[in-house]
């Protein structure tokens, strides 16, 4: 394919995906819509992390902490922290807090990007890991702003869109509310909100990465020495990548807070940071489309490892109420994997095996298949 054809093909796939995303809630239950909303939220965070790690080559094991900054910004702006003795009054509508969440997290990202300039490879992994580990106790220390270990409750606040939903006449149907002349259930609203922002974030990431900035990022990743000698400012582009990446994570964190209607230090555990890094590796570093798979992996693998039925991955109409149960690693271990700790064993082993089998992630697999097809085309035309 010529580059032009490739681009048109890419747009067509993206358009088809947008249509798919917007009609999907028609085919899945209201309850599942919320699961898929989380996929959209993770996608935003993964897009940001991939700009930093996949494109600029800077490992971050601490992106959960940037999500926490965004989540807390959103929660504090909505609920205020006057009840803990802090200065912020309540009263901002949830969606308007998201740009601020992104901005605040982005500023923290820029600030962290400066010291991170001097770290590379494993050292950066180590420092960012320490950030993720230190985050919960920092949140607890500044109790008057964050509510400490108790966290901030958002459920039922008027600032939460859809909290005024009324139950319909049918007792089995979910409560609905009106917005902009449309009727939403709370879960559908969350789904559309998360995915609208995720698709916008996707397009934004594509725009950032296709031009001069993206080229500079990749140059830094491939060889810092070569990048500098071609006139790319390492300091500028590395901190910029940190800032953009953290801003994405901040928006994702804000959405996460809205979707959970609650934040506390455990909302953003170290495991979240790990999941995100795993998500971009599964999705394929340095590619955007594979990240959708990465986000599904992040959202569902922990559930799947808990021995949940595969049904939660599939639309209801496919399985029609029957649960398809998948035994994990067989039941040869007498305790089974549903015993406490079992899911973590499965998750850890899956991670290690993935690194053995798919070193470039699912995105890399897609690319390789694509290469095979295009190679054949070229060799035929010769």
């Amino acid at each position: 394919m010529t580059p032009r054809e490739q681009r048109i093909f890419g747009f067509a796939v993206f358009a088809a995906f947008v249509v798919f995303v917007f009609v999907l809630p028609q085919f899945i239950s209201d309850f599942r819509a919320r699961d898929y909303a989380y996929v959209g939220i993770y996608l935003i965070a993964l897009l940001g992390l991939n700009i930093l790690t996949g494109y600029t080559g800077q490992i971050s094991l601490g992106h959960g902490a940037f999500m926490a900054i965004g989540g807390y910004t959103t929660a504090i702006l909505m609920a205020g922290n006057e009840q803990f003795g802090g200065p912020v009054p309540s009263g901002m509508q949830d969606i308007w807090t998201l740009p601020i969440a992104g901005l605040v997290a982005g500023l923290f990202g820029l600030a962290f990007g400066l010291p991170a300039l001097r770290l590379s490879g494993l050292y950066l992994a180590l420092a960012t890991f320490a950030v993720a580990v230190a985050m919960p106790s920092t949140v607890k220390r500044f109790e008057e702003y964050t509510g400490g270990g108790e966290g901030i409750q958002l459920f039922g606040l008027p600032e939460l869109t859809g909290s005024n939903a009324v139950a319909p006449a049918d007792p089995n149907a979910p409560a609905t509310f009106e917005l902009l002349g449309l009727t939403f259930t709370q879960n559908d609203w969350m789904y559309y909100l998360a995915w609208s922002i995720a698709l916008g974030a996707f397009a934004g990431a594509w725009l950032i990465l296709r031009g001069r900035t993206g080229r500079a990022f990749r140059a830094v990743r491939d060889s810092e020495t070569a990048a500098v000698s071609s006139g790319v400012s390492l300091a500028r582009y590395k901190t910029l990548a940190f800032g953009i990446s953290a801003a994405y994570a901040g928006v994702a964190g804000g959405l996460f807070a809205i979707a959970s209607a609650f934040v506390n230090p455990d909302t953003f555990p170290v495991a979240l940071s790990i999941f995100l890094l795993v998500g971009i590796v599964v999705g394929g570093l340095g590619g955007l489309s594979g990240l959708v798979v990465g986000a599904i992996f992040v959202a569902f693998l922990p559930l799947w490892a808990q021995g949940q039925d595969l049904g939660s991955l599939l639309p209801d109409s496919v399985i029609q109420g029957d649960t398809v149960s998948i035994p994990i690693l067989g039941d040869f271990l007498f305790k089974g994997t549903s015993a406490p700790g079992g899911p973590a064993i499965v998750y850890g082993i899956v991670l290690i095996l993935l690194m053995f089998v798919l070193p470039n992630g699912v995105g890399g697999l897609f690319r390789r298949i694509g290469q095979v097809i295009t190679n054949r085309r070229y060799s035929r035309s010769k």
Partner: protein, 304 residues
């Protein structure tokens, strides 16, 4: 008043040295792996926890007495470390940094899960090899366990130093780490040496785990915070220097306790117990920024 403050001060120093001894042991394990394979092992803390649980299970479930269980645990840890290197680390060693990080994190998650799965998340008690005696030295309380921990940390660093400097295996270990290609040419089994490095680190981690458990309680997550302090210790001392790891560990232990001490007396009153972990993070960042090679390490020279 001054005398009381001084006793208090000495108390904090002593207990800081005791927890520093633990950080030093785990930091030593990190340093050995980093020196021999260039990997930072995020699973080091969980490996130590697993060792401590093995010792506990031998003692409680199989009613072994302490020292045979201690020795058996060290042997199991040593071969376990070699096994982990052969089965899990070697295939990705030459790959990208990211793969190594994720594999060691996968290991962390899996081992943590295994401990919970096998022995439940309930906290348990593991006895100390040094007994429970407590000495009173001029008002300062010193536990036999603390003295033992510090002595073991110092003893191990001397042993390791001797191993690296005076034995053929130590020479081969260093050769394999510094220049694998040429070491192979002169007949060093490089992959065995790397495996041996992991075995030694697992063994040290085992010691650290068995000495940590009596003070903080045996718990699947007992090493999570210790790992971060040990990272800080290793970075502070110089990530490739065994002596640096011990010095760094003791320094971190004392430094954090000093902050608690000073905050009690009105200085640094913003400091609370919750800030211990964030302080470790700050130390890591500050050292990496100001003196990346640490106190006793050698600066890394990169050939372009």
């Amino acid at each position: 008043m001054i005398a009381a403050a001084f006793t208090d001060f000495m108390q904090q120093v002593v207990s800081g040295l005791a927890s520093g001894g633990i950080y030093a042991l785990l930091a030593l394990a990190l340093v050995i792996i980093h020196r021999s394979t260039g990997v930072i092992n995020f699973a080091q803390g969980e490996m130590a926890t697993l060792s401590a649980y093995i010792a506990w299970a031998l003692i409680v479930h199989h009613s072994w007495s302490y020292w045979p269980a201690f020795a058996a645990t060290l042997v199991i840890s040593f071969f376990g470390g070699i096994g982990i290197h052969t089965a899990i680390i070697r295939p990705v060693e030459s790959g990208s940094v990211l793969r190594i990080v994720i594999v060691t994190i996968g290991l962390l998650v899996a081992i943590n899960g295994f401990v919970v799965w096998q022995w439940s998340g309930e906290p348990q008690q593991l006895q100390s090899p040094f007994g429970t005696e407590v000495y009173d030295v001029g008002g300062v309380v010193v536990a036999a366990h603390d003295i033992g921990t510090i002595t073991v940390a110092l003893g191990i660093v001397l042993l390791l130093g001797a191993l690296f400097r005076f034995t053929k295996v130590g020479l081969a270990l260093r050769a394999a780490a510094v220049n694998p290609e040429e070491a192979r040419l002169v007949g060093v089994r490089v992959s065995w040496m790397l495996g041996l490095g992991w075995g030694l680190a697992a063994l040290l981690g085992g010691v650290a785990g068995m000495l940590t458990a009596p003070t903080v309680g045996l718990d699947p997550n007992m090493m999570a915070a210790v790992l971060i302090y040990s990272f800080a210790a290793a970075v502070l001392g110089g990530i490739d220097s065994p002596i640096g790891a011990v010095v760094g560990g003791l320094l971190i232990g004392v430094l954090l306790n000093m902050l608690s001490f000073l905050s009690q007396y009105g200085m640094f009153d913003w400091f609370t117990e919750e800030l211990r972990l964030p302080m470790a993070l700050l130390i890591i960042l500050a050292v990496l920024l100001i003196r990346p090679q640490g106190i006793l390490g050698r600066p890394e020279v990169k050939r372009v």
